[in-house]
C-alpha cells in the first residue's frame, strides 16, 4: 500500500508586474491589471495596489491569496498603530513592518513580491523593494513580478542611478519630473507586455506628490 501523495500545491503564481519610481518630491507606483493561473486569464481587471497608510502604497505580485492576507495583516497592524500613536505610519516605518511581517512567515512564506512606495517624513519620494521573505532595501526605483527581468534593466538604463556602493552615499531618487516618470512607467508596461505573457499594458497607477496626492486610479495605455 503506497503512501498517499499530496497532489495539490498551497501556492500558485497569479502573475503580473509592479513598478515604483521615486523623485525629489513625488513617487509613482504602478502595477498591471491581469490576474492569471497557468496559461489562463482569471480576470482582466484586478488591482495589485493597496494603500497601506496616508503616504504609503504597496504594489504586490505573486500568489494573490497570500498578497491579500498580507495586505489585511498590514492594514490591521496600521490600525493598531494609529490607535496607539494617534498618527499615520510613515513610509519608512511601514517598510520595516512589511519586512518583519514577511520574515515572520519565513518557514511558510507569503509568496508575495512587493514594492512599497510613498513619501518620507520630509516629503521626498521613497521606494522600498522586497523579496518574499522580507529582505528589503531603500532604492530610487524598482520592479517586481513576472516582468521584472524585462523591466529592471530598462529602468537601470533610463534612470542611470548612481552605484549604491559609492561613498559618500549618493541620492538614488531620480531628477526626472513627475510627468516624465509617469511617461516612463507607461513605456515600461508597454514594453514588458510585449514579451511577458503575464503582464498587460493596462495598469493601475498612483502618484504621490508632496503638495497633494492623486488617489489610485485605473489609467490605461
Amino acid at each position: 500500500m503506497t503512501k498517499q501523495q499530496a497532489n495539490w500545491s498551497p501556492y500558485d503564481n497569479n502573475g503580473g508586474s509592479c513598478v515604483a519610481i521615486a523623485g525629489a518630491d513625488y513617487c509613482v507606483i504602478a502595477a498591471d491589471t491581469r490576474m492569471s493561473t497557468g496559461y489562463n486569464i482569471l480576470t482582466r481587471d484586478y488591482s495589485k495596489i493597496c494603500k497601506l497608510a496616508d503616504k504609503c502604497v504597496m504594489a504586490s505580485s505573486g500568489f494573490q491569496a497570500d498578497v491579500r492576507a498580507l495586505q489585511k495583516q498590514l492594514a490591521a497592524r496600521h490600525l493598531i498603530y494609529q490607535h496607539q500613536h494617534n498618527k499615520q505610519m510613515s513610509c519608512p516605518a511601514m517598510a520595516q513592518l512589511l519586512s518583519n511581517t514577511l520574515y515572520y512567515k519565513r518557514f511558510f512564506p507569503y509568496y508575495s513580491f512587493n514594492v512599497l512606495g510613498g513619501l518620507d517624513n520630509e516629503g521626498k519620494g521613497c521606494v522600498f523593494t522586497y523579496d518574499a521573505v522580507g529582505s528589503y532595501e531603500k532604492v530610487g526605483y524598482s520592479s517586481q513580478g513576472s516582468g521584472s527581468t524585462l523591466i529592471m534593466p530598462f529602468l537601470d538604463n533610463q534612470l542611470k542611478s548612481p552605484s549604491p556602493l559609492l561613498l559618500p552615499a549618493q541620492d538614488a531618487v531620480t531628477p526626472l519630473v513627475e510627468a516624465e516618470a509617469i511617461d516612463l512607467v507607461k513605456t515600461v508596461f508597454a514594453s514588458a507586455s510585449e514579451r511577458d505573457i503575464y503582464t498587460v499594458r493596462r495598469q493601475t497607477r498612483t502618484c504621490y506628490h508632496k503638495c497633494s496626492w492623486y488617489p489610485p486610479g485605473i489609467h490605461g495605455t
Binding site: 499530496a6 498551497p10 482569471l42 480576470t43 491579500r68
Partner: protein
C-alpha cells in the same frame, strides 16, 4: 488528499436585475456518474447565492459553516444582514485558512448576490485565490465558457438573453466536459430574492456533418 465525489463547472454572470448562475446536477465518483440529483447551488441568507464545484462533502461542510454565520447574523436582530461581499470575504478567509493548515476544502466556489441595488459576483478557489468580475466560472468552465462570455457578455443583459448565454456555455460544456451531465439548474438572484429553477435538460445536436465519418480527411490508424 484527493476528492471523492465531485461536481463539475459552475458558470455565472451579472445581468440587468442581478446574477444568473448555472450548474449541472452530477456528482461523479471518479469516472462513475454516481449521483444525478445533486443541488450544487444554494441560497445563503437573504442576499446571496453560492455555487460550488469540487468535493460535494466539503460543499456540505461549507453550507454548515454558513448556516452558523447566518444564524449569528440573524441573532443580532438589528435589521442588518450580511451581503454577498461579506459572505464572499468570509468564504475566502475559510478557504485560505484551511490551505494554511494543509487541509484544504476541495472546492471552487462562486458567490453571487444583490444588496441595496449593488450586484456582486465573486469566486474563490481551494487555495484562497479570489476575485470578482462580471462573469466567472469554475473548472472546465474557465476554459470553455469564459471565452464565450468575454465575447458575448455585455452590461444590462435581459433575463432571457442572460439565460440564453448561460445555456450556450452549458451546452459547450456538455459536449466537451466528460464529467458534465445533461440535467441542470439555472438560478437567479435579484433584489427580491433567490429562485432556483427546476432541473431540466438542454437540447443537443449530434448530426453535424463535420463529425460524420471523421476519418474522411485523414485515413489512417489514428
Amino acid at each position: 488528499m484527493y476528492p471523492y465525489v465531485t461536481g463539475t463547472s459552475v458558470v455565472a454572470l451579472k445581468y440587468k436585475d442581478g446574477i444568473l448562475m448555472a450548474a449541472d446536477m452530477g456528482g461523479s465518483y471518479g469516472s462513475t456518474l454516481r449521483y444525478k440529483s445533486v443541488e450544487r447551488m444554494k441560497p445563503i441568507g437573504k442576499h446571496s447565492l453560492l455555487g460550488a464545484s469540487g468535493e460535494i462533502s466539503d460543499f456540505q461542510e461549507i453550507l454548515r459553516y454558513l448556516d452558523e454565520l447566518i444564524l449569528y447574523d440573524n441573532m443580532w436582530d438589528d435589521g442588518n444582514s450580511l451581503g454577498p461581499k461579506e459572505v464572499h470575504n468570509y468564504l475566502t478567509r475559510v478557504m485560505y485558512n484551511r490551505r494554511n493548515k494543509f487541509n484544504p476544502l476541495w472546492n471552487s466556489l462562486v458567490l453571487g448576490g444583490v444588496k441595496n441595488g449593488q450586484k456582486y459576483l465573486g469566486t474563490v478557489s481551494m487555495i484562497g485565490v479570489n476575485f470578482e468580475d462580471n462573469h466567472v466560472a469554475t473548472g472546465f468552465g474557465n476554459h470553455l465558457a469564459r471565452p464565450i462570455l468575454r465575447q458575448e457578455w455585455h452590461e444590462n443583459l435581459s433575463f432571457e438573453n442572460g439565460v440564453r448565454l448561460l445555456e450556450k456555455c452549458m451546452r459547450v460544456l456538455l459536449y466537451r466536459d466528460r464529467s458534465a451531465v445533461n440535467k441542470l439548474q439555472i438560478a437567479k438572484i435579484t433584489e427580491d430574492g433567490v429562485t432556483i429553477s427546476q432541473p431540466y435538460s438542454l437540447k443537443t445536436y449530434w448530426e453535424f456533418s463535420a463529425f460524420e465519418n471523421p476519418a474522411q480527411g485523414a485515413i489512417g490508424s489514428w
